[in-house]
């Protein structure tokens, strides 16, 4: 009987001890976050940051984001990026030219892991047209106006034989800012369309926040960037894994190409 008691006591103690070892929060996995847009005619620049841990007691490795050995490769030649502080790196000497339809790779070590990515620089948008360079509209008073007359959408058309992704950003560049919605202070003076794989993007006048001159940039983008827009909003009940094209890391390393248009939004008095 005594032996049985000792056995049971030992067994109980053992499982109580071992069971405690497995409870708890998983170890924080530090990952580098890459943000780099490669555009023809511009020097390669990127920002490296780290994921911010959710739990305060997470153990963070002291890998410095300012002393990484980052290399970008093009045509089999790798060039070291120069750290500029705050996680910013750049090919300051312009050793690598960014050329459309060419492939570029990113490579560096972070916490003993090879962080890798690659991208292709899309071609410059061609056969770009816009249906209007000027639109006229009245200032909108949301509180007193029951009917709003808006001009037709501005149609941006382009060739897209391979059904690749395009999107447009519209930014007010006028120095005098008169809001379209009376007495409002718009959160942003820029907005973008959703990526399309067709040949036309419509700029909806109701999304314009200010009267004045606007710059429309038509981007030819890669699928890895379009993926950001395909995701559900982060307020959704259905969590989605953040899109990334970085192996052993997060963020984006992608090529873009663009054409610039202008649109003048005139207020009808």
């Amino acid at each position: 009987m005594m032996k049985t008691k000792i056995l049971l006591l030992s067994l109980s103690t053992w499982f109580l001890i071992t069971s405690c070892q497995k409870s708890g929060i998983a170890e924080f996995s530090t990952l580098p976050v890459v943000e780099s847009y490669l555009a023809p005619g511009k020097k390669i620049t990127m920002t490296i940051s780290e994921k911010i841990p959710y739990y305060e007691n997470a153990v963070i490795t002291d890998t410095s984001i300012n002393t990484l050995d980052i290399r970008v490769g093009y045509n089999g030649v790798y060039c070291n990026m120069i750290p500029l502080g705050n996680g910013i790196y750049s090919d300051t000497a312009g050793n690598i030219s960014v050329v459309a339809d060419s492939a570029y790779t990113l490579l560096f070590m972070f916490n003993g892991n090879n962080v890798y990515s690659s991208t292709i620089i899309p071609s410059k948008p061609i056969d770009v047209t816009q249906s209007a360079t000027t639109i006229k509209m009245s200032q909108i008073d949301p509180e007193n106006q029951s009917w709003i007359n808006l001009p037709d959408p501005v149609e941006i058309t382009f060739s897209n034989d391979d059904e690749s992704y395009y999107l447009a950003t519209v930014e007010c560049i006028d120095s005098i800012r008169v809001p379209v919605y009376k007495d409002s202070i718009p959160e942003n003076d820029i907005f973008s369309s959703m990526p399309v794989t067709g040949t036309q993007i419509n700029i909806m006048p109701m999304r314009i926040s200010y009267f004045g001159l606007h710059r429309i940039i038509l981007y030819h983008i890669n699928p890895e960037y379009a993926a950001f827009f395909m995701q559900q909003a982060t307020t959704s009940q259905n969590y989605q894994e953040p899109p990334t094209n970085i192996e052993n890391g997060l963020g984006i390393f992608t090529g873009i190409n663009a054409d610039t248009l202008f649109l003048n939004v005139i207020q009808i008095q």
Binding site: L8, L11, S12, F15, L16, S19, C20, K22, S23, G24, I25, A26, F28, S29, L31, V33, E35, Y37, T47, S49, E50, K51, I52, P53, Y54, Y55, A58, L167, T169, E171, E187, N188, I190, F191, S192, I217, I221, P223, E224, Y225, A226, A227, F228, M230, Q232, A233, T234, T235, S236, Q237, N238, Y239, Q240, E241, P242, P243, L250, G251, I252, I256
Partner: protein
Amino acid sequence: MKRSLLFLFSLPFFASIAISQNIDHILLDTLYLTTMDKVLDDISHRYQIRFAFDRELLSQMEINERPMKKPLSLFLTQECATRKLQWHQEEDSIIYIEEKYESLTSKPVLAEQKIEQKRTYSGPSKKKGFILTGIVRDKSTGEALPFANVGVRGTPIGAYTSSDGFFTLLNVPSDTSTIMVSYIGYKIGYVFLTPDMPVKNLLIEMEAQSQLLQEIIIQGEQEQLMSTNDKISLLKITPKKLSTLPNIGEKDVIRSFQLLPGVSAANESSSNLYVRGGTPDQNLLLYDGFTVYQVDHLYGFFSAFNSNAIKDVQLYKGGFDAKYGGRLSSVTEITGKDGNSKGFNLGGEVSLLSFNLYAEIPIGKRFTSLLAFRRSYQGLLYDKIFKQFNETTEIRQVSFTGQGPMGRVPSMETKVKSYFYDINAKFTYKPSKKDILSLSFYSGTDNLDNSMNISGGPGGGGGFSFSIDNSDLTRYGNIGAGFRWTRNWNPRLNGTTLISFSNYYSNRKRSNTGSHFGGDSGQGSFNSGLNEKNDLVDLSFKSDYNYSLNNSNHLGFGAYFTDYIISYDFGDNDTSMYLSKDDDGIIAGIYFQDKIKLFKAKFTVTPGIRFSYFSPTGMFYPEPRLSLSYNINKYFKVIAQTGKYYQFANRVVREDFLSGSRDFWVLSDREKIPVSSAWHYIAGISFEKKSFLASIEGYYKDIDGITEYSMRFKPTREGTTYEENFFQGVGYATGIEFLLQKKFGDLTGWISYTLSEAKNRISIYGDSYFPASQDVTHEFKFVGMYDYRNWSFSLTWLFASGRPYTAPDGAYSINLLNGISQIFIDFGEKNSSRLPAYHRLDAAVNYRFKNKETNNEWGSLGLSIFNVYNRRNIWYKEYQIIDGNIIETDKLFLGITPNLTFSMKIK
């Protein structure tokens, strides 16, 4: 004397020696240095005395004595006394030497043929080697007792009753043999056969414990709450004693299985059974033969089955017979009460959560019926349970927007409007002694409103503030019916044919609307949600037969057919549909099984095969099964089992980190949802005496075709194809279970410990195995029950290591081309975090009201305290992501919860 006369009873374990004398005049004077059987042979030979005894038993007992002219009667008395034997001489002069069973002095099982409690017949036998058939039933209600053990005492001849209480014993040695009947929750009974008893349709009645007089209760044979079985990995629970265990608000037969080894108790919010690392959908639940797909009420706190309508429950933890299929892990077979056949009965129960009424109405001698209804009402306990789903002890907000920590704790308001009900009905008609027709009906529905309002943020000044109005309405349930015909074609062949219908339905609408102020995007509002609808229809036909070739060879065979129609719609607030599936398919097949007893029934081998056709894949699925059991000696037994199992309808988990994962039934197909399969490997050893049982069982399950639905991955960069969000993988579950049970006495109970591991590997989550959501490494359970007169006390304590979950790991931001910084939340590796360990102490005291004249129990009053030391066990974590802020909520299980239950019945 010829040798042939010496062995009058030429039976496997019996020997006898003929010719009679007055045994008091026989004086023994021989030196005996041999075994007792040989001594008896010698005495028989010398003095022409006839003996009947168990040769195998007595051959193990040595005698080393010279009687010195001792009278034979005294010699037998003395030798038997030291060996727990007893002897008596019948009128036919045969001296019977038997094991001394205390039951011989107790009140035995009664039969309608007025079998007396002691052996009264003392004449010679008239029949030998005959077939005995009969029915075992409860004495007071006339309920047939399913799966009772019936055997010829002192021989390996035995059988189980069918679900309708029928049994057949082949080759019964003589019509003076003793039949022993045992059934969990009842006294072991003995029927002393006499030549004038019928050998067909012998009606054996058993008495439940509560109807026995206190003074004749024998410690060694008290009723048990739980029993293991000679079938591999089979557990039984008697609903009759459930009220003695602590409960939350209802005595719950399914939940009580969670107190047993191998069945996880770490998920108190689920009455589903997590058996040996399996998921609840891998447990086949049969109610009077038809499958029930929704087994719980009230978010899982209560099982869907009214214990007043249940007669018997069996749980096969693995390695189940070829008769059962379509599930990977386990089988729970519930047999509903037929209803009292001896008179009208009305009973009921009221607790702080629900009320419960049942009626038993017999019409004539051939028809019985049972109707039971249960419904929750909004009492104190009801409110407590519902608030538990909305109340939290900790809401933690982490901001990644630079707004700083929160200025005040968020507040929450709840709305409570939910209820459940269920109906059980069973009508049984016996047109002849060979046939039983029954119609069973079950319907259970939950209407749940889990809506809440959360608001939080700084009390003034800057920072992030929010308000969320959450609406969460769910209606789910199961309705089913089965028409069953049981026929004993002849003493060797019996069969059951079932036509059934079962419909599971679930309709959930959840929406979040609200507003926030602060953060990167300043002021804003949001509106999100989901609609989820799942419907399953099961139309089945099956026919099962048993054929006994002889006492050592029993065949089982049958055929089955199921037509499944399963639909699932999952969308976002009526505006877009993520997934819409509408499938139907047929499963049809046959099975065959042969139970063979070898080596004097010490070794039992049961090979079987099940062969199914599944129309959506157009393929055949063979499922070989094999189980072995060997009785090393009277106390030790080893078992081994292996088998292949397929599952065609699966409850796929829809992964949702934020508001808790849910699951839905879908039918396997050729493309995205494979037919899942598992191999079971089970081995164990047990040591069982009358007073206690010790057992160790180990298992390994190799599972293929695990499917999970997750919307966190984008299958292609070309856009979202939600149908492609089914991900397949493999898994395994392994473990070892220890059980030590004290079976008899005023103090009964058990201690069990399970060490287990359940892991899956689904390539979308990575190349490594990750802990399955139901993985619990250690589980320790203590159950103690003490009876004192009309009082019973019970105490249960559970300890389980924490279950895995996926926690947020961190966040980061990316500046998009439009200059806006977008925040992304990153969750860690799948199930890489663990909740704190779960433990809980429950206690109950129960008083039984008895009729002073008849000693019949007519009611009881029970006080139960759940979670005595108010352990704050975490159920799961919920997250809200609003504009770069994570709001973490701990959903807790119930704290200390007292409950009072009063039950009564006419009979």
